[in-house]
């Protein structure tokens, strides 16, 4: 299909503003008389606040307010950034207070200070006297479920948030019928989003007595609802404004700092208060990626036919539920529309422990389950002596596949082409031959892995998106969306869709990048890789409506029927002849100023998108293993994606670069570590938490197989989270190829790699017997 703007690498709308520093982020806004808020955090992993003495802190000059849970409404609320559910049974777990009276992890917020400046606030924190009754704590999901384990929340026996699972077919029968039953254990670690911009918000009470919160968030409309719920306010009395944001990756799909920032302002008589976390705080008191343990048991025939799979998943959600079990459930839903298992039994458990809270992070459980599954498939291939790519090819679903549980239908499926393209790009066969029989301290290996992902959350949650377009006097349009630009480039993509429909050059589409819940159309925000797919449908609908109205006005002017005309490059043309009949500006001016018929051209629509589209892709990687030191480096990597039509190739590549680098960090280096005795984070800073630098990041190659997805705008499907899913298992499989050593846990941290290599006999025992 031929497009003018869709499919082109349009320069992102905010590029210049961001690189010149013109773009203003939450911390760039200042209010008169602004105060600073700081938080006192529990030094204990599990402790009840017995008594509180705030008198010394309150007496410090420059302190405006000091408060604890005792001074706040005792309303438990849920923080996850999901659309509200009218069905109480489908709501997120309400287990959080703005400040807690019982600390459940080291760093849990127990008191807050508001002061004239940060230093005074810090000093006041040291003057708060709190007496704790320290309780025993648990750090692992297994320990938390043991009988007699300390209970984190009263209403969750065994500390299990949920063990709801799904199944179809008869997996036990398949185990009996299959030639082989192969089992494997796989594990992932706690990692963090590490968005550049900290978690930050400021709040004040405005002239109408409403609470205004400015926040670096992915989900302004949801923040509004949750701030109101947490404070016991009518929802309409809260306004949330989201300016430019410096990354979120799911961490800001959660309500973390906003209710407290609002409470700080209320405690200080409505004065503006800024609450911006330090990096150390972001690590411990925002969200992390769930560490998961998976046990996979697969029924497979000798020819490689996968018959059934039983997945047991244990998800450590930390001290509060946050997105809780939704993440485990998401994990269980994504691999089904990739491999054609006759039966699946998915048994997840999400468990509370006394660790920092896990929540949404790019991929939403999917990187964990695909690490397990794609590693497992290579292990199976080895056991059966089948080529790992052949094993996968043999078991792929086909277009038209309908998931027996979600009922989602696969309408486009580019995996076979992704595999072919990936093999060709990395020169799979040639390198595979070259890598045979390697000895010595440096070894090369090839690995690959597949993934599947969705576009939005249907049918699990509501997928509602709003878009509003106003045509200006010059024929340009201003587009407002409730979906949030968080760096992924959505504003640019929406502008492209609008420009394409309206026959405008991109410069004639102005996008309001700030979301303000008083003004912005309703939309649940940036998550689930939903925006191009879901909001794109709303934007297209709004643009079509404007187009219809333009042609109606043009019909009035020209006497032609609307259907006989089109808009091309700011002109109205008679389609059959290609003849220009008037300018778009003429139409817009009529719409504004015609003495009889003036009615500015606008549209204000929303789309309730009750359909989903599966996105697919593969990673192909070559690694270079330093056997002696245990270091694994990526020599070459390709991510090949089927995301339907690519609306903006350069932005799409950018998504792949960011996602793959994030995945490689988790595959090789990143992990949050906790003192096993105290539960205190050991490395909650960017020196000790090994986020890869640009020097540690290989050249990342992106390629696309463009299928056409009938359900999406212009044939598009999701891409945002996709690139982060398959690199880790591909790297793991490549290390297996290089060394014959199968790793079952990420990251492949040099210390661990060293230990495994020695265990496998790859390293001679050192001869030194020194003391």
């Amino acid at each position: 299909m031929d497009h003018n703007i869709v499919g082109k690498s349009v320069t992102r709308l905010d590029a210049v503003a961001k690189v010149t520093g013109k773009a203003k982020y939450t911390d760039d806004f200042f209010e008169r008389d602004m105060l600073v808020g700081k938080v006192l955090r529990s030094p204990h992993a599990h402790a009840v606040v017995k008594s509180v003495d705030l008198s010394r802190a309150r007496a410090l000059p420059g302190v405006a307010a000091v408060f604890t849970a005792l001074d706040l409404p005792k309303i438990k609320f849920a923080t996850a950034g999901h659309p509200w559910s009218l069905d109480p049974g489908h709501r997120d777990v309400e287990d959080r207070l703005i400040l807690t009276d019982k600390a459940r992890f080291v760093g849990d917020a127990v008191a807050a200070v508001v002061a004239e400046d940060a230093l005074t606030a810090e000093k006041a924190l040291r003057l708060i006297d709190i007496e704790y009754e320290v309780l025993p704590h648990v750090l692992t999901a297994e320990d938390a479920m043991k009988e007699g384990a300390p209970l984190l929340h009263e209403n969750r026996p065994g500390n299990v948030v949920s063990s709801f699972g799904v199944q179809f077919g008869d997996v036990e029968a398949e185990f009996g019928r299959a030639d082989h039953v192969i089992e494997g254990d796989y594990e992932t670690s706690v990692v963090q989003h590490c968005h550049i911009e900290s978690m930050s918000a400021f709040a004040y009470v405005d002239a109408d007595g409403r609470v205004v919160v400015n926040s670096s968030t992915q989900i302004p409309h949801i923040v509004r609802r949750i701030v109101a719920q947490a404070l016991g306010l009518p929802w309409g009395r809260v306004q949330v404004i989201k300016p430019y944001i410096g990354g979120g990756f799911g961490n800001k799909q959660d309500v973390v700092v906003e209710p407290l920032a609002a409470a700080m302002s209320l405690a200080a008589g409505g004065r503006p208060v800024r609450y911006c976390m330090t990096r150390e705080e972001v690590f411990i008191d925002t969200r992390t990626r769930h560490a998961m343990k998976l046990h996979l048991k697969t029924a497979v025939d000798a020819d490689g036919t996968l018959r059934g799979i039983h997945v047991q998943l244990l998800s450590n959600t930390g001290a509060y539920a946050s997105h809780g079990h939704s993440i485990a459930m998401s994990a269980g839903g994504k691999f089904r529309p990739l491999y054609d298992f006759a039966s699946v039994k998915f048994e997840p458990k999400t468990v509370y422990t006394n660790l920092p809270v896990a929540g949404a992070m790019r991929g939403y459980g999917t990187p964990q389950i695909f690490f397990a599954l794609e590693s497992h498939l290579d292990d199976i291939a080895r056991r059966l002596g089948i080529d790992p790519i052949e094993l996968r090819r043999k078991n792929l679903i086909k277009v038209g596949h309908q998931d027996p549980l979600t009922k989602n239908v696969v309408r486009s499926f580019g995996i076979p082409q992704c595999i072919e393209k990936g093999m060709e790009l990395i020169r799979w066969d040639e390198k595979r031959r070259a890598h045979l029989d390697q000895k010595g301290p440096r070894r090369r290996g090839l690995g690959m892995a597949l993934f599947a992902y969705a576009s939005g959350t249907h049918p699990v949650a509501l997928e509602l998106a709003g878009a509003r377009i106003v045509m200006n006097q010059d024929g340009s349009v201003t587009l407002q969306v409730g979906a949030t630009e968080i760096g992924q480039g959505s504003d640019t993509v929406f502008a492209q869709i609008t420009a394409e429909v309206l026959g405008l050059p991109i410069g004639m589409v102005h996008v309001v990048t700030t979301q303000d819940t008083d003004i912005t159309p309703f939309d649940s925000g940036a998550y689930a890789s939903r925006q191009t797919f879901v909001t794109g449908i709303a934007v297209r609908k709004a643009a079509m409506e404007v187009r219809d109205k333009v042609l109606e006005v043009a019909a009035r002017r020209t006497g032609l029927a609307p259907a006989e005309m089109d808009i091309r490059d700011c002109r109205i043309v008679e389609t059959a002849l290609g003849r220009v009949v008037c300018s778009l500006e003429d139409v817009a001016m009529d719409a504004y100023y015609d003495r009889l018929l003036a009615a500015p051209i606008t549209s204000d629509t929303s789309a309730n998108v009750r359909i989903n589209a599966m996105s697919y892709g593969a990673t192909f990687v070559e690694v270079d293993v330093d056997v002696e030191t245990g270091k694994v480096e990526v020599a070459e990597i390709w991510n090949v994606h089927d995301s339907g039509t690519i609306i903006n190739p350069r932005l799409a590549e950018g998504q792949v670069h960011g996602g793959v680098s994030m995945a490689l960090g988790a595959a090789l280096l990143e992990q949050m570590l906790f003192d096993p005795q105290t539960g205190k984070a050991l490395n909650n800073n960017l020196l000790d938490y090994k986020l890869p630098t640009i020097l540690d990041t290989p050249r990342i190659n992106a390629a696309f197989v463009e299928t056409f997805e009938a359900a999406g705008s212009f044939g598009s499907k999701s891409l945002g989270e996709c690139p982060v899913i398959s690199p880790a298992p591909a790297v793991r499989n490549a290390v297996l190829d290089a060394t014959g050593v199968a790793f079952h846990k990420i990251p492949l941290y040099p210390q661990v790699v060293f230990e495994k290599f020695r265990e496998a006999g790859l390293l001679a025992q050192r001869s030194v017997d020194h003391v």
């Binding site: 030191t629 280096l669 003192d675 490395n683 000790d688 210390q751 060293f754 050192r766 001869s767 030194v768």
Partner: protein, 293 residues
């Protein structure tokens, strides 16, 4: 915003020494890449600071009459690794300097600060140790020159007397002349990281024999150390892969590695052997020798 009670910014070394003599409790701040972090974390709360940032004379890198290379204590790492003098005569110090932090850190972090901070992971320390460097320490009334080995007292502890400032690092001619060198910073990342292990090797090879070899290790013990037994073994030996392997094996001996959440003792010792072997082999190559295997 930092929690400090006073800040002195003298314009001359004499002035700085006088201020420190009067207020020996002042915390000296050079580039600030360590001190400011400690202030931010509250471990130096309420401190008084003596900043040396205006003492530009201490940034100079010069060769003295006797061939000693004097590196001013306030020389930032960027200046050091870009210095023609250092590149020509002590390239191994360039390697160490450029392995520090990232460009922004290297622009402000100084060699004097790196040493006085007493961190066992200091990239400059193990290299300077291998180069037999000396430290020039001055008070308002006194001056002394001591070997690197006498300066380190323990993790984060150095033998700096009250009122004393480190003013220069001296690399004597014998320390560097005719030596090939190599520094391996083994860290989890290629930038912005602290070393898991630092191995600095300098050596002189003539007619395929080790004339001199010195090995400095960082993060192998509570302080940077030298591997004297390995060094003594090497002297006069023919350069062969077996000899290099034996040197590496002996290099592990003085180490007092310990297990922490960063790395195990076992792994650290393994790395010392592997990396000492690699560093010696590379230093030999650069020193005009050859270690074919």
């Amino acid at each position: 915003m930092f929690d400090i009670c006073e800040l002195h910014e003298p314009g001359t070394l004499e002035e700085a020494k006088a201020i420190l003599a009067e207020n020996p409790g002042l915390k000296v701040i050079a580039g600030g890449t360590d001190v400011l972090i400690r202030l931010q974390h509250g471990s130096l709360a309420g401190a008084g600071l003596l900043s040396l940032k205006n003492l530009h004379a201490l940034e100079e890198i010069v060769m003295l009459g006797d061939g000693t290379i004097s590196v001013g204590a306030m020389a930032p790492f960027t200046t050091i690794f870009q210095s023609g003098l250092i590149r020509r005569h002590v390239p191994v110090l360039c390697e160490a300097a450029v392995s520090m932090g990232g460009p922004q850190v290297r622009n402000v972090a100084t060699i004097g600060g790196n040493i006085c901070n007493g961190a066992v992971s200091a990239d400059s320390a193990s290299t300077l140790f291998a180069l037999d460097a000396l430290l020039k320490l001055e008070t308002s009334t006194d001056e002394r020159i001591i070997p690197m080995g006498d300066f380190y007292a323990g993790p984060g502890k150095v033998n700096l007397r009250p009122g004393e400032l480190l003013t220069a690092v001296l690399i004597p001619r014998e320390g560097y002349e005719g030596m090939g060198g190599h520094y391996i910073k083994y860290a989890m990342r290629k930038a912005m990281d602290i070393a898991t292990l630092g191995v600095a090797v300098v050596c002189k090879v003539r007619e395929d024999r080790f004339v001199d070899l010195r090995i400095g290790l960082g993060v192998a013990a509570p302080v940077p150390i030298r591997c004297f037994e390995a060094e003594a073994y090497a002297k006069g030996k023919e350069v062969t892969p077996e000899v290099v392997q034996e040197i590496a094996r002996l290099a592990v001996k003085p180490a007092k590695a310990r297990t922490s959440w960063r790395a195990s003792k076992d792994y650290r010792e393994h790395l010392i052997e592997v990396l000492a072997q690699r560093a010696v082999a590379e230093a030999v190559k650069r020193g005009g020798g050859c270690c074919a295997d």
